[in-house]
């Protein structure tokens, strides 16, 4: 019995376990998302909601899962890089709308950073938590860098980014309907600036222009946030 348990331990901390679990849960998420077509059933959210309880109830430590998980995380740099390709695909739209996009991203940085700092003050959060939350509307790799710089805890930053992304991806399309926004450029830039890559994935579902505007805004707003955070 002990022998079996030991072997199980070895299998669980093998990188393949984390990768397989992630792919299977993502596929379940995709399947549910296609079947029910509601933004709340976001594949990322479903995967996370499946994986965390599985690890928790089977008493599998996060580090064992992350043996495989970290291999997937390595690909975040190429994934962010590939956003450059999706921007290139929309070169014509970019040429046409560069001014509204740049202004929108600048406003988004101001509103996001300003409202986050103000809300943190209102709720009496300490500097560490504030620093962790300031970059919560920019894409994960940028947010982590900014948070480190501001003395935040990166784990909380990632949680904030993902939570914000899911909230934005779910609620922003509802706001679009509520306020009857018909401008795909505005919606795309808004999603990219407020809800990071999860919002961008959602924007891609809304339409090609929305998706491209969103990935462009994601990059531009991220860069602007890095620059602004240098002065915070």
């Amino acid at each position: 019995m002990n022998n079996v348990l030991n072997n199980l331990q070895a299998i669980l901390s093998n990188g393949l376990f984390g990768i397989t679990l992630t792919i299977v849960c993502y596929l379940i998420g995709l399947w549910l998302n296609r079947k029910f077509k509601t933004p709340i059933l976001n594949p990322l959210l479903i995967a996370v909601v499946l994986i965390i309880p599985i690890l928790y109830f089977c008493r599998i430590p996060f580090d064992a899962y992350n043996e495989g998980g970290s291999i997937i995380t390595v690909f975040l740099v190429p994934v962010t890089t590939i956003l450059g390709y999706s921007i290139y695909l929309q070169l014509e739209t970019l040429k046409k709308y560069w001014l509204p996009i740049l202004t929108g991203c600048l406003v988004s940085c101001g509103v996001s950073i300003g409202s986050t700092i103000a809300l943190c003050k209102v709720f009496g959060l300490d500097e560490t938590l504030t620093g962790s939350l300031v970059p919560h509307t920019v894409t994960t790799p940028i947010a982590v860098g900014v948070s480190e710089k501001l003395g935040g805890i990166t784990g909380i930053t990632v949680a904030g980014v993902i939570f914000t992304g899911v909230i934005g991806a779910v609620l922003a399309p509802l706001l679009v309907k509520l306020f009857r926004m018909k401008n795909p450029v505005g919606v795309g830039v808004g999603l990219g600036c407020s809800s990071t890559a999860i919002g961008t994935a959602r924007a891609m579902e809304l339409g090609e222009i929305q998706g491209a505007m969103s990935s462009m805004a994601l990059g531009v707003a991220g860069m602007m946030t890095v620059v602004i955070s240098m002065f915070l």
């Binding site: 890089t81 590939i82 509204p100 993902i162 600036c193």
Partner: protein
């Protein structure tokens, strides 16, 4: 073979971006440098669209997959957040929605302004 070549191209761009990030005097995320670099290389036609098309399309379609392990790491930081859960959630929700509305309406406003200006120019030309 085709996929391997495409992967090699994309990873090379990333590695170049990592080098640039290491040289820069301030911290700038290497992914964003890679994004700018790839965009410029495509713009200058050093890389053609077909050189990276298949891998890029696959990745863009499944982009949220790559964020799953990072998202799962939330379970590690729950301890720090204890006692601040609802504030944390409220700050994220309020600030995200404010940012979305402000940004979307700024873009829509600037576009309308541009339309007006071009319309005026058109009037003068007539």
């Amino acid at each position: 073979m085709k996929i391997l070549i495409q992967l090699a191209i994309i990873f090379s761009v990333c590695l170049a971006a990592e080098c640039i990030a290491a040289v820069l005097p301030f911290t700038f995320p290497s992914g964003v440098i890679g994004m700018i670099l790839l965009f410029l290389l495509l713009l200058l036609k050093f890389i053609k669209r077909r050189h990276i098309e298949d891998v890029s399309q696959f990745v863009l379609k499944n982009i949220s997959f790559f964020y799953i392990p990072t998202a799962v790491s939330i379970m590690e930081s729950v301890g720090y957040l204890q006692g601040y859960m609802w504030q944390f959630a409220l700050i994220c929700i309020v600030s995200a929605l404010l940012t979305f509305l402000a940004t979307a309406y700024t873009v829509i406003g600037v576009m309308k302004l541009q339309e007006k200006i071009t319309a005026k120019k058109g009037d003068k030309n007539e």
